[in-house]
Amino acid sequence: MLHTENLSKDMGEFILRNVTLDITPGEYLVIIGPTGAGKTILLETIAGFYPPDSGKIIMDGRDITNIPPKDRNICMVYQDYMLFPHLTVEENIGFGLKTRKKDPEYIRKKTVEMARLLSIDHLLHRKPETLSGGEQQRAAIARSLVMEPNLLLLDEPLSALDGQTRDKLRTELRRIHDITNVTVVHITHNFEEVFSLADRVAIMNKGEIVQIGNPDEVFRKPESEFIASFTGMENIFKGSCSHQDGISAIKIDGHIVYSATCLGEREVYATIRPEDILLSKDPIVSSARNSFKGRITDIKNNGMVIKVTIDVGIPVVSIMTRRGWDELQMNEGEEVYLTFKASAVHVF
């Protein structure tokens, strides 16, 4: 559908470096990355607001790199809605069709239809400023969808909304994508949006796409230290890898951790998700290859989840629910056993 080739753009503060990206028709691609990673500038370059310094944008086989935005049929929705304040909701939604000089009767019909799809048909005569954030974003999405765009770009569409509205509109986005099958590129900071919306997720850093794949794969198997720590990996260790009995052993500060994957005999990073580590008062006999004894050094309670740090020579973090913690009945300074499977250790 859309293919970018070595797209680069230097805007001083924000930068894009050699972005090559392939978006398949009907796909829902979510892009995450820290602030300043160049996510918005990527979307804006695809939409055609600035010419790239180098590289090409191909849409449906046609080179659109030098085509003005109005002829690309790519629509954009921003975090802060960007509804035209001097127009009613109806005029906002119909804006693009009017620009295309469609018949007023047709515009009216399509506008109402799209407003109904987004459950804002009762708001058509209101001015944007009188709407709630969620309603405004629905109107902005309707304004884009009514154009039947080849590609819909969403720039943190849910970030300005409060918790409940965000949840609702997220579900709505999924539903609309299922109905219209429009191709979407969606930028976010929020991991929940990745898991509930993305067919694929791309991680950006410093203007580059550093990993792309299905969400579970990317979160379970980060390809660099940056991705591991950005996606919230708590336990990241550096060590040297060697093969032992078909699986690999990673030596970290003198401790051996077993992993199901290995990249050959060299320096590697190993990560273990905190929730994959089991704590127990007594040693557990199980098929899990990794078992350690340590001392609890820190306990953090955020009201919902307990985060426990255990010193086993190296500091290891484990997360559990409050119920799990209450059953364990342990305190800071006590000895505890850690168990985790070799398959839970991801190496990169």
Partner: protein, 248 residues
Amino acid sequence: RNSWLRNATIGMSFLLTFFIIVLLLLIVTKPSFETLYTSITSPEIQFAIFMSLGTSIISTILCILIAVPAAYALARYSFFGKGAVNAILDMPLALPPLVAGLGLLLFFGTTGFGNALADMGLVFVFTPLGIIAAQFFVNFPYMLRIMRSTFESISTRYEFVAKTLGCTDLQAVWRVTLPMAGSGFFAASVITWAKGIGEFGAALLIAGAIQWKTETLPIALFLNMSCGNLNMAISAATILIIICIVSL
């Protein structure tokens, strides 16, 4: 617990306000209502009102046509020399109006370009055209500044969105940015117009103070003061005060 800092500073602001009100009242209440009425309805003051309104409206329209596009460029684009352009365009704000008037006089009176215009019938020296040029030159920076900050306060993303909805660059500005800039545009026009009405120094130099020819309200005030005709002067001032209050 009433702080004396609070009382002293608020007192100072009231003192200044009081001073302004006294000054204005002194002018407005000086002549009797009847003398004022006679003066205002006199042909000379009528002429001055007409001349002031005419020149200030035309110069305001010129400011709009020229300063609004320039303000848009300064708000939206970055280009070579932008810093210098910005600084120089603010200069007429600090330049004494007399100096601006002298510059215009030299420009229209002594250069080939000015002579060429004069040959085409566009004479600026000692004519109402000169008043318009003076008002334009002294006041366009106000229009420019206000519109520049108005445009800057409107996110470029509105235009971006309009373009994805099928607008050309110009359509995006015309259908989205200009309507959104409405209130700033109105304020800028009123200020430019009010400043134009009150313009004296620059107009004096290029258009002279010629009774019945280049006599705007400030010029009428000046001419009548010079020949001791206080009532006429004060009625011109009263009209100027009324215009000033209405425009605020």
